[in-house]
């Protein structure tokens, strides 16, 4: 079914987006750490902050993925439209 | 770590060239004005420095102009110049703004609208000079050369001499120099018998008592006095000069003095005499000097055998400290303390100025103060006070005069016929009266250069009326100021960076000197040096007027003057500082420090180094210093006596003198009138509700009114008060409380002349009962940066004059203040 495919694509896209977002943030923070190291600009402080910040985002992404995948997997066979 | 220049600039943000702009791809429309961008992106500019002179105020400091590709961008001090010694004031520093001011007069203008309307049309120089010349020619044809008047401001330039020569050669006595013969000059005249500026040698002094002279913000050379004051405080252990300042406001000068005595306005004479009283009672004055070189200290007999009262008796009887304390509101203890310090210090100098001379009793006040110097004998051979020596210019032959000129010149000047004062040439403020009454004759042509009485006179409305009455007025200003608004022609002068000029003999400076001004760039606009224009006009008139001015242009006129110095070989061109002893040695042997094979070489070095000076003044003796009738320092002024007698035909009777004194509103009678004394000050007593004295003061951001064409100075006008682009009025917090005024309120200041709305500032540095306003803002013309900014306190100043000197009294104004609205709504 075309509609179904589209929705599936959207769902895949959203999971991908979440991970890109989280990875983006992680890369951004790592980049800032790198720059601070390069310019000797309080590398330690940056590192400390990143230690807190990066896991938070990852946990969020993991939870979302877990829910999305879990919900799809936990469906009764077949049709998503029938009442539970 | 090696970093490239590019990286460096990027990191530092100082975009030294186009590099960082290009490097960062920085958007030019957002960051840099186009012109700037071109210069920044283009090849690096060639930096050159040119020596010149700043003439934004009469002090004429030596400057060094920084030029990038021939465009002046900054001005610093010329370290070789011995007067300002490398320092400049804020105004000079932004002097290029005057050059690039968008509201300069860029070409000769002829008025097309009504007078004061400010509508002009451009004319060519030839046509303008032609018109002016034919007007003057007309006067000559009618044998009425005296009907030309010239209003100018006092300065120390050669142009002033040229103007004077022009007036003489043309044949008019009506050269009116604003601010020239002020009360100080007259006080010098009364005590020392000449009207030349005095020089002071501060080298050995230990104490300086300053009566109201705000030397750091105005006066002969603010930069020099800033340096001197700083030096006084930093000569080193045991050699520092103690500075005592006497004024009703703690000005900047007072604030860096060691002591400030807040005196009641207009009572400084009493204070000075109170100090004299202690000195005389203690016998601590310079007995030798007083006995040998002064006149009228003790009671004396005239030729007729009549005994006259002496200074000593007067002071001893009338000015004991307790009484002075009552008059001046300074505790008697402090007066005595100050007097004792003054007496015991080996070398102490007294200076006066500002408020002391600008009151209704200004001359007597300055005279009384000068007497302190007399008591201390400050005119000794190695002494402090002397006459400023002019550089040895080429002696000019007398201006040739034909019959017309001689006749015109012999007519009485306008002021003399109307003034009710003893010294009429000072009463320039009364000119409007004479012009309006056309007494003794009408003025038909008026020349204006720099003088701006419509802004800065207390009777400015009279000046407007007078200007409207004069049929033909020519202004030589670079800007359309308030007075030029009423002119028929404006023949714009160059701005100081575009012309040749010489400033010499700055008052108070103890050595003869001259500073050279040279153009640092080609004139930006179609303007001409007023000196050149005057020479051209003289040539056009022809005859003896033309032959008095044999020079093709003003530059040659200057060179002619300097030829004398070159030939005489006196003094030296400014040079890197040399050992004083070495210079003295050379001088003793009659050698010149530098020798020049030709005058051209001399001229070039003079231009490059900025001027000439003679570090060692010629020895002077009392004969030359004291030119009074007695050839001594006069406590009792025979000069004044003579002056008064000269105004009465025949032998003066006591009755006639009395009525003359009556006319001059002088309380003193008899001998007292010829002695320095405290004449109670006159104030505007027309309305009992006017309960506060309003006094003006000047700021270093607007010396001699020059700051109004410099936007930076307008912005930083009150930088210490943190008032930008605006005026304010200063209150003592007590005074303010009594009037229900708090900091920042808008108040209405009302005098009998009118009212102004201005912001209130509360400062503990003001005497209660007195309010102060800075002057220099409130222009109605002068271009976009000046017009409509702030208020002009002169507008509401009460019109009164010094009883004898005829100088405008600026301390006679009384005002009422009223809070209009608070800070928030402001």
């Amino acid at each position: 079914m075309k509609n179904k495919d589209m929705i599936f694509a959207l769902q895949v896209a959203s999971i991908t987006y979440i991970w890109i977002f989280v990875l983006g943030i992680a890369i951004w923070i790592l980049n800032l750490i790198r720059v601070s190291y390069k310019l000797q600009d309080s590398f330690d402080a940056s590192l400390a902050i990143s230690i807190v910040a990066i896991p938070v985002f990852f946990v969020l992404a993991v939870i979302l993925t877990y829910v999305f995948v879990g919900l799809r997997k936990g469906r009764k066979r077949e049709d998503a439209y029938s009442a539970h | 770590m090696e970093i490239s220049r590019r990286e460096f600039l990027r990191l530092l943000g100082a975009t030294g060239a186009g590099v960082s702009l290009a490097g960062l791809g920085c958007d030019s429309t957002w960051s840099v004005p186009d012109e700037m961008y071109e210069r920044v992106v283009g090849a690096p500019g060639i930096e050159t420095w040119k020596t010149s002179l700043c003439t934004l105020c009469p002090a004429g400091c030596g400057i060094k102009v920084r030029l990038i590709d021939g465009i002046p961008v900054a001005i610093g001090g010329n370290p070789l110049h011995p007067v300002n010694r490398g320092g400049v004031c804020p105004m000079a520093n932004v002097g290029v703004e005057a050059l690039f001011n968008p509201d300069r007069v860029t070409e000769p203008l002829r008025r097309v609208g009504a007078r004061g309307e400010g509508k002009w049309e451009p004319v060519s120089w030839d046509e303008a000079i032609e018109t002016v010349g034919s007007r003057l020619q007309g006067l000559r044809e009618r044998n009425e050369t005296n009907r030309l008047a010239f209003f100018t401001n006092h300065d120390n330039t050669l142009r002033s001499d040229l103007v004077a020569r022009f007036m003489t050669a043309f044949g008019s006595p009506n050269l009116c120099v604003f601010g020239k013969n002020n009360a100080s000059t007259l006080a010098t005249y009364l005590t020392q018998g000449h009207k030349k500026p005095l020089s002071y040698d501060f080298k050995n002094i230990k104490l300086l008592i300053n009566f109201g002279a705000d030397f750091l913000d105005e006066g002969p050379s603010p930069v020099r006095f800033n340096q001197l004051y700083s030096e006084f405080r930093n000569r080193g252990e045991g050699r520092n000069v103690k500075i005592v300042h006497i004024d009703s406001r703690c000005s900047r000068t007072a604030s860096i003095s060691h002591e400030w005595l807040p005196v009641k306005p207009g009572t400084m004479a009493a204070l000075a005499l109170g100090i004299a009283n202690v000195l005389i009672k203690d016998g601590q004055y310079d007995r030798g000097f007083v006995a040998a070189n002064s006149f009228g200290f003790t009671d004396w007999k005239d030729r007729a055998g009549k005994v006259h009262r002496g200074f000593k008796a007067l002071v001893e009887e009338d000015y004991y400290p307790e009484k002075v304390a009552r008059i001046t509101e300074i505790p008697a203890r402090r007066i005595v303390e100050l007097a004792r310090t003054f007496a015991t210090v080996e070398s102490a100098l007294v200076l006066a100025g500002g408020q002391a001379g600008n009151s209704s009793n200004g001359l007597y006040t300055l005279w009384a103060i000068e007497c302190l110097n007399g008591l201390k004998g400050n005119y000794k051979d190695n002494g402090n006070i002397s006459i400023c020596q002019e550089p040895p210019f080429t002696e000019l032959p007398e201006a040739t005069m034909d019959e017309v000129s001689s006749k015109g010149l012999s007519r009485p000047g306008m002021t003399r016929s109307v003034t009710p004062f003893c010294f009429p040439e000072n009463a320039v403020s009364l000119l409007p009266q004479a012009i309006l009454q056309q007494h003794p004759y009408p003025i038909e042509v008026l020349f204006l250069a720099n003088a701006n009485p419509v802004f800065s006179a207390t009777n400015q409305s009279d000046f407007v009326a007078a200007l409207e009455k004069i049929p033909f007025t020519v202004s030589f200003n670079s800007f359309v100021d308030e007075t030029s608004l009423y002119a028929d022609f404006i023949l714009p002068d160059h701005v100081f960076l575009e012309k040749y000029e010489v400033v010499h003999t700055v008052p108070t400076v103890p050595f003869s000197h001259l500073g050279m001004q040279q153009p640092v760039l080609e004139p930006l606009y179609n303007t001409r040096n007023t000196g050149d224009v005057l020479l051209q006009i003289a040539r056009n008139i022809g005859g003896t007027v033309a032959s008095s001015f044999p020079w093709p242009d003003y530059k040659e006129c200057i060179q002619f003057h300097l030829q004398g110095i070159y030939e005489r070989g006196a003094g030296t061109i400014f040079s890197e500082r040399m050992d004083d002893a070495w210079l003295k040695f050379l001088k003793r042997r009659g050698w010149q420090v530098f020798e020049y094979s030709t005058f051209e070489e001399f001229w070039q070095v003079l231009l490059d180094n900025g001027g000439w000076w003679d570090p060692f003044p010629a020895e002077t003796d009392f004969r030359t210093i004291f030119q009074t009738p007695s050839k001594r320092f006069e406590f009792f002024s025979q000069g004044l006596q003579r002056e008064i007698r000269s105004q009465i035909p025949g032998t003066a009777t006591g009755e006639e003198i009395r009525s003359l004194l009556q006319k001059w509103k002088i309380e003193a009678r008899g001998d007292l009138a010829f002695l320095p004394h405290y004449e109670s000050t006159r104030f505007d007593d027309s309305n009992p509700e006017f309960d506060l004295h309003l006094l003006p003061y000047n700021l270093i951001t607007n010396i001699a009114g020059g700051g109004c064409v410099l936007p930076m100075m307008q912005e930083l006008f009150g930088m210490l008060a943190r008032e930008y682009w605006g005026s304010w009025i200063e209150f003592n917090p007590d005074t303010a409380r009594k009037h229900g005024i708090s900091e920042g309120d808008m108040v209405k200041v009302t005098s009998s002349k009118g009212s102004l709305e201005v912001k209130a500032k509360l400062l503990p540095t003001i005497k209660p009962g007195v309010v102060y306003m800075p002057v220099g803002l409130g222009h109605k013309a002068y271009g976009r940066f000046a017009k409509g900014i702030g208020v002009n306190p002169y507008e509401i100043f009460f019109e009164d004059y010094d009883s004898i000197g005829g100088v405008s009294s600026l301390t006679s104004t009384k005002v009422a203040v009223e809070r209009i609205r608070g800070k928030e709504q402001a």
């Binding site: 509609n3 589209m6 929705i7 959207l10 769902q11 959203s14 977002f21 943030i25 951004w28 923070i29 800032l32 750490i33 720059v35 601070s36 600009d41 309080s42 402080a45 940056s46 902050i49 990143s50 910040a53 938070v56 985002f57 946990v59 969020l60 939870i63 979302l64 877990y66 829910v67 999305f68 879990g70 919900l71 799809r72 997997k73 936990g74 469906r75 009764k76 998503a80 439209y81 029938s82 009442a83 539970h84 | 943190r722 800070k823 928030e824």
Partner: protein, 446 residues
Amino acid sequence: MADSHQTFFEDEELIRPIEQTGPGFYATVVVLLCVIAFAGYTYVRQVIYGLGVTGLAQPVSWGFYIINFVFFIGISHAGTLISAILRLSKAEWRRPITRMAEVITAIVLAIGGLHPILDLGRPDRMLHLFTDGRLQSPLLWDVTSITAYFAASTVYLYIPMIPDIAILRDRGIKPRWLYQFLSWGWQGTDHQKRVLERAINILMVMVIPIAVSVHTVISYIFAMTIQPGWHSTIFGPYFVVGAIFSGIAALLIVMIAFRKAFHLENYLKEIHFKYLSTLLLIMSILWFYFTFSEYLTAYYGHEPNEMRVILYKFFGAISPYFWLMGVCNFIIPLVILANPKTRTIPGILIASISVVIGMWLERLIIVVPSLANPRLPYPTGVYIPTLTEWSLFAGGIAVFILGYLVFAKLFPLISIWEIQEGRDHSIAEVTDRLTTYLPDQPLRKL
């Protein structure tokens, strides 16, 4: 659609606003869009002419934008934090209010988080934050923690909404694809329920420290400087308390408004208001306590620079706002909420509005006086906001209302499945739980 579940009839009221839209809604939206458009216009103007169009100057260089930033972020603590705490503590009365609270968080956070951008002199250089940011700067801490909080709170809003979206999907409400997409095939199977429950449990534990950190970090913007009035250790908790305080007030206002507009009297009962207003009262007292200790320490220490700021707050130009803040945040809530007679819904509404205003004033009192009183003798600054700031403030509020309205048009404001769950399971569960609280029966018998 045809075979609608029996429960649909039970909670029909909750779906009705989604299915039916009245003219009032459109009128409101138009008005709000006008306000937003005007705010947009003023912002564009500000970008073109620079921040000169605002009332900011030297030395008060932070004004409305920073005040509103702190204020909006403070409001955002309404939701997630309250709902998480209530969920965590298994407070059964939470069921109809959690979502309303969470929506506030998500929308207000987006608005508040954008405020620093309004404040930038060079918004065109925003990217420098990403290319050359410095994690050392508290502003970057903010960027990070607000992003985290926004992510967490939207997730926390969304995940418990999935079953309700499925209900909407099943009713065939348009746009259907949206609900199909967002419901992730929810069918209410045991596995799905387990997954959902587990995720919610993790999230609610996680979201609390994030929420606390956000406002702490915002306070750090001020507290990390050494400026008098800002450099204070209690600023973190003080801001958090203030945030929760204003958040509850905002939640109460929203509840009262939608109770009236959507006729939710059946769901938002007296008891909810009673509990929440008690919480508001407690927070008010707590806020007072923090304020008191903040000022007492500064006053008692009598450090001259601190004193100048304090005197400016107490008696200076800003003092009317200072005392108004005290009245709004403490006196009015105390008087209204401590008295059962006035603790009615209109009373609570008045108290809540007063608290929201008071908390906004508190932000003003924190930001401006410290800047207006520099240590060195500069002139005291005056800050008078211009139309630009006011219109952007109005725009911010309009965006919030619009966002909330749109949300309410797309999703049920009250969690249907949680209500059902409450009906179906919790009564029994609570009885069981209560018995565990109580002493064992046998003991009592003895």
